[in-house]
Symmetry: C2
Subunit: 255 residues, 2 copies
């Protein structure tokens, strides 16, 4: 059987079989030393099927070589299993990011100064170590959601968190707000405020980049910025659309 026939039977190209040979994965049974033609037999066909089977598991050709030479196949498969699990999580996050981007108007809106209207919200405070801020906010949001839902009088529209811009050592105080649709207690009214804001779609790990950039933009435009940041989560979950905002200090002459 020559290379073309083996290739057809394995549903690969001759180039692929030459590549396997170069890696020492699948050597011809013999080579005609006059013409250079490769010849293959049933053993090579079986090995070829095995290689295609391991490719179906997503193993690299190097890993396949280890398995076919009798290596620790269980360890190799478990390693690949972990990789695939990671890839699945990454692609699910990418899908969520794409959908958030499709839901948003633009890829990254221009930062704008807006006068945010007053709104009713149920607010709780939490303390957190700086590097535990993300999980703390997520836990608090879940708790708030359950308590507002259990109360039954109001419904959550979305959630926001407010915390200091500069995270120093030691615990920081976070305010988490459930934006609700009725202004009765325990909801309070958050007053209208001026914000420098930008909308972001993607994983929460991008949020620090965004408010860091907002700071520069504010400095560039000569805006007097406050020292807290507000993250307004338009979707639940760790991937989605988020408004990132820094309050603009209102004119001092008003005092």
């Amino acid at each position: 059987m020559n290379i073309g026939e083996l290739a057809r039977r394995l549903r690969v190209t001759p180039r692929t079989l030459r590549h396997y040979e170069q890696l020492g994965l699948l050597r011809p049974e013999s080579i005609d030393h006059r013409t250079g033609y490769r010849a293959y037999g049933p053993q090579q066909l079986l090995l070829g099927v095995q290689i295609e089977q391991l490719k179906a598991a997503g193993l690299s050709l190097a890993a396949i070589g280890e398995v076919t030479e009798g290596g620790a196949s269980e360890a190799i498969l478990l390693e690949r299993r972990a990789e695939v699990t990671t890839l699945l999580a990454r692609h699910r996050a990418q899908l969520a990011t794409i959908d958030a981007l499709l839901g948003a108007r633009a890829a990254l809106a221009e930062p704008r100064v807006v006068q945010a209207p007053a709104f009713p919200a149920v607010i709780v405070r939490a303390m957190s170590e700086p590097d535990e801020l993300g999980p703390t906010i997520r836990r608090t949001v879940q708790r708030l959601r359950r308590s507002v839902h259990g109360d039954g009088r109001a419904r959550c529209r979305s959630f926001s968190a407010r915390f200091p811009l500069e995270l120093v050592d030691g615990p920081v105080s976070v305010e988490v707000a459930a934006h609700v649709d009725v202004a009765a207690p325990p909801a309070v009214t958050v007053p209208s405020q001026q914000l420098l804001t930008v909308e972001l779609a993607g994983p929460v790990s991008l949020l620090p980049l965004a408010y860091d950039a907002l700071l520069d933009v504010g400095r560039d435009r000569g805006l007097p910025l406050g020292d807290t940041v507000i993250e307004h989560y338009l979707d639940l979950g760790t991937v989605g659309r988020t408004e990132v905002a820094i309050p603009v200090r209102t004119a001092l002459r008003a005092r």
Copy 2:
């Protein structure tokens, strides 16, 4: 802001920023023509955040360039969405293949001649176009499973299909068998038979490769093979462990 500071704030390396520049994605605000040092401002920081956001969607740098230059971002995102969906399906299939391989003893067992014992089975026949064979088998298996389950007297252990080795033009006849645990009607007893068999783990698309290889192995060993193949599905679903077998013709002198 120099390249190191921008890189730190975007959580990438300076090398990455130079790479973006080479692709025309993110150019410095200015370059000191004496030292070659690059300088960046708030505009570049914002663009950098946008680029990282689009990377979180898994877009290629070329696609990101199109989006940041005002291209048809919705079409680009939908294209990537389709890619990611494909990748998710592929990785789920890889995971199933890995688990099937871990469940099997070896990566691809040596083909063996075995005397398969007799077993009780519920059998139905179906006709199919050659290129519809896979879906036909899958549908028939589902139907059989429901009917055996609805009957309530027997339980399916696994399923097998038997069809002609040579698929010519025109419809072929397939026999699908549910292997059950009690020998009462409608179950019949499939007699013991000699088989040349090999176990495969992976997608069903690999099965034709396997029985094609079995044919060569049989010829090589001088075995008189029959003209049908039997696929014995040890798992449900389109990915899993399967025994592929070709009957060995029993000695003609026995007639």
